[in-house]
Symmetry: C2
């Protein structure tokens, strides 16, 4: 019996928000593992803001997804057949198999994970790329230290939620920015941030005063736009602005909004620095170890927003840009 | 005989470019040195872009000049009378006496200079704040190293001209940006930059290709605006963008233009960092020493644009914003 493989391919380069016609939904035969390869059944695919950038035909830190290619995405799944001595059928692995139900790999980028330690989808979230992004961004780029005030946007999101929790572990104050009262309550009551500001509230600007009255030492930016400018206006001397993303700008059809308060970097002798998690590939192992240790000590919480059914990929993906997800967005693409 | 003191005071806060009515020209009696004070006859006043910022009623790294106060400016002059054992009549000193002919000081901020080593006005230029700004900005903030390509805007200006020359001393390539063919020739032929790009030329964007074909490791920005965006588009991995000023934006009556290419910091894991020279006050002494040594070895050249007559201050000051000066702009405010 030949396995069937449903997959989403990039059909057109989107202008603004991706439309249904930018995708092609295909059912084909599953690939077969060749010499040294493994065949993986994908259980969950990770849906991330960065994927929007990979859809543009622009020079970046990684090549764009080609038209007609399976949409790139991080995945976690189970090895079905293995011609690679490092893996056996039944192993669970993270990889980059994209939005499809079966993928093959030479094993180089696969990392074995243990579904008994944490739910499988955690390895796409708090114990995966978003957790590592938060860890390296806050500690290396942001150089967080005890007593700092850390402000983070997208605080209920996959990366932001980890940034604030790691800030607390490091002895800093954590102030989040999120959209809506429910997310803000989650950020403070469940994640343990010191405060959370609702950017959708009419009183957003005045709400910032009290929790940020001693200024911002580290601003971890996931959103860009006006919120970045508000943060720049509140920097302390020698503050660090970590540029991790700019989700407010990814679907722009006009120019990206540059931060008009950037001259505050001069006034405060502050710096703004960007990074992508792939820059830290050699430290993934030790990073996951550190996160897993904190998780086992009950110091980290994370939440996934799981939508089910590969056919729902286009609409589920849009939730990233409309605030429709609450927790790390993952798509269940195969039955267990 | 009472000494007469001509001075310019700030009469109104400018909107956009300063107008004549923003100034009050006053002739008053010169001050008298009190206990522990010295009276200094100002020979030259330094005219700098940063002064435009000091005229705004905005929080910054230094308090604004108050309405009715003498306009703040760096100065070099001669001690006339001294009630301070550290100074004697006939000493030459730099200070912050502002746009006036006589000032008193308790001596704390005065630094003795030797007019035999270099012309007096040099201590407001290459051997003064602009030289120190270039030195600390390029070496500390920019972390320049051998083999880097250093791009600097305002390359014919007081700071920019020193940035490129110090880059060469440090074994880097120096590429300047300046306005007009004359300035560009000066930057290459007299200052020894490897190349200079004329931003007023229609071919500016294509002119950048060849000298920047290996990308930019350090961009030292004095201008902001579109040129900052062009530089951001050409950054190498781990590049450093030094924010020293933004002269294209200082007279804006609309919002400052933020750099819309700032997300290239993320793609290239690059940083953008601001500073003001006052942050390095403890290193002024060693910095001047280093600059003076290079100067004595013939490795540094600098040029002053000297206008004469304190009454010409308002129009001379505007040259900073219209490109009307060529070399460090100083105003001779008293006869020798």
């Amino acid at each position: 019996m030949t396995l069937k493989n449903k997959q989403y391919r990039l059909a057109a380069r989107p202008v603004g928000l991706p439309k249904d016609s930018d995708w092609e939904f295909v059912t084909t035969d599953a690939p077969v593992a060749g010499d040294g390869q493994v065949l993986v059944k994908v259980h969950f695919a990770s849906l991330d803001p960065a994927m929007r950038g990979w859809m543009n035909d622009a020079k970046s830190y990684i090549a764009p997804v080609g038209l007609g290619e399976v949409m790139r995405a991080g995945t976690v799944g189970e090895v079905v057949t293995s011609n690679n001595p490092a893996f056996a059928a039944g192993d669970f692995v993270t990889g980059m198999h994209g939005i499809q139900q079966y993928g093959v790999s030479d094993g180089k980028e696969l990392v074995k994970v243990d579904p008994k330690l944490a739910p499988l989808e955690s390895y796409l979230g708090g114990l995966g790329m978003p957790g590592l992004t938060a860890l390296f961004g806050l500690t290396d780029v942001g150089a967080v230290k005890e007593g700092d005030t850390v402000l983070v946007s997208g605080a209920a999101g996959a990366v932001g939620s980890m940034v604030g929790q790691i800030a607390k572990i490091k002895g800093a104050r954590a102030v989040g920015i999120a959209g809506g009262a429910d997310k803000c309550r989650y950020v403070v009551d469940e994640l343990g941030f010191d405060a959370c500001l609702d950017y959708k509230s009419d009183s957003f600007l005045s709400d910032m005063k009290e929790p940020l009255k001693t200024g911002v030492d580290v601003y971890f930016d996931n959103v860009g736009g006006d919120i970045l400018d508000q943060a720049l206006a509140r920097l302390n001397r020698h503050a660090r602005v970590v540029i991790c993303g700019a989700i407010s700008q990814y679907n722009n059809t006009t120019a990206v909004q540059g931060p008009s308060n950037y001259l505050n970097l001069l006034v405060q002798h502050a710096r703004m620095e960007g990074f992508v998690v792939f820059d830290y590939i050699k430290q993934y192992g030790s990073g996951v170890q550190e996160l897993a240790t904190w998780y086992s000590q009950g110091k980290l919480q994370f939440k996934e927003h799981v939508d089910t059914g590969i056919e729902n990929f286009p609409s589920t993906f849009l939730k990233l840009f409309t605030g429709g997800n609450f927790g790390k967005l993952v798509l269940k693409v195969s039955e267990d």
